[in-house]
Symmetry: D2
Subunit: 162 residues, 4 copies
């Protein structure tokens, strides 16, 4: 599907590969599933990204990050988004559009990943803090996709991808 | 607080007055509370808008509507936002940042208002459909504020504002 | 699957047939989908009930209603549940376990159905008010299943069931 | 308020003191707030418990745990609740009634606490696993209250309690 490929391409343009997200999923789920491989996780991450909710969330999140980065919106909200304060909260809410459709395991894993910032999430966070690029919305989207893939693995096991 | 006044001013710039939102709150709650007046509702709507979650949601929602309207974002997501399909769903999710902090009564009233589109919500929806302006996110924000004010009235009654 | 059949049987024991829920789905969705039939809706309602989240929510909701009805829990919380006040709110939250996994269209339809109480929802509500049985949790579960089926129809159309 | 005291008493009966919850809040928030004390955290935990949503959630959660423990509900759902599988999910959903009204910071902290099970949460989890008592719902409620108190501290700072 065309929009799905666009979503994957936009993620890559912004510095996030499918493998980066799959590594977080592996980190979240390997203690529960024996022999879980990075390839299993890549397969499940792709399943999550196929969903319309994910595509819409990815494209919207990146659009907001980009207009904030280019300062195409009013100064006050632009500064709030660029600052990425914990008190802003709209970035986590937008990510819920992906998390919610994947159930409670996705929700707790999302909160966990959002707090500990594994792998690419920390990279995005650091780039954002250096004011080079704005990843206020994207880092939460990455956590949401990784956590949702972890939930799918918990629900369906690893047989499916084999 | 300065940001609160900015939020109110942006709402007005986009065609929404506090009174317009308060009328929806009155419509939602007058069958449960005797002698509920439009002034009571205005007071509760202002209480909702004072909250940080509301200010952030209002300013972000309007920023997205504006960049879509001016076509400052990628074509594909721009067209999706302008079309405001029921399948998009990110607009309702963003509004949840206001609704969630006001509890279950806010949630059911939000769903109800979003479906029947009372007063200014219908006006915004029609303007959006004529492609004059984009109100894809704003109409859900208006429903969210009105529903949250209705929830506060259900919880605290009308004495407070008198 | 055995648990799914148990969930359907418990719904029937408490006075709710699949057809009753499908009628609400038809009511919610017929204005958007041409030629939507009650049989289409029954098929989608069954799809929703197949999900683990739905089975767990149905069985838990009915268990709480039953222990409240038989007064097997502490007096204070028992009375709060039997009263089914709008300010209680836990019944709507439990129903979200079904609604959330079906996206934004399920959410707004849930709020709408919860407010207008179509068909069997009103019947359950009235029985509850006469203190014959407790349906504090069940009526929200019925709204949640009907709204989630409506969301599936909006997403996948009616071809699937034909 | 009487119901608030009942909620605190029921928590204690089930093995959870206010101080136990406050210690989790301190653990969650001390890296962000200088000089945050356990007394500050106790004060904020009490604020959270005062809310109607919290009281209703606490009393309902404990009621379900107790009827499962005493096997007063149907065998199938009783076994599912006693097992406390990650796939059950209704316990996390019920806890959201507290978390949601405290915003995004509460949500991510809830997911984090639910995964790492600090302090009393691990104690409850272990007792539950030994089938001595059922704490399937209570451990999530404890995470929810602690995370919500952490969110209040992030929003309002520690001045308030001094």
């Amino acid at each position: 599907m065309e929009l799905e490929n666009l979503a994957i391409r936009k993620l890559e343009e912004r510095g996030v590969k499918i493998e980066d997200i799959a590594e977080i999923t592996l980190f979240l789920q390997e203690k529960y599933i024996e022999n879980l491989s990075i390839d299993d996780c890549i397969s499940y991450v792709k399943d999550v990204i196929t969903k319309r909710e994910s595509i819409n969330a990815i494209l919207t999140a990146i659009a907001i990050d980009e207009v904030a980065e280019k300062r195409l919106i009013d100064n006050e909200i632009c500064n709030i988004i660029l600052e990425d304060s914990g008190l802003y909260g709209i970035d986590e809410i937008l990510a819920l559009s992906i998390v919610n459709v994947h159930g409670s395991i996705a929700l707790t894993n999302f909160g966990y990943a959002d707090k500990i910032k594994p792998g690419i999430v920390k990279v995005l966070d650091n780039i954002g803090k250096q004011k080079q690029q704005c990843h206020t919305f994207l880092d939460d989207i990455v956590c949401a996709i990784a956590a949702s893939a972890a939930s799918r693995i918990a629900h369906y096991g690893i047989e499916k991808s084999k």
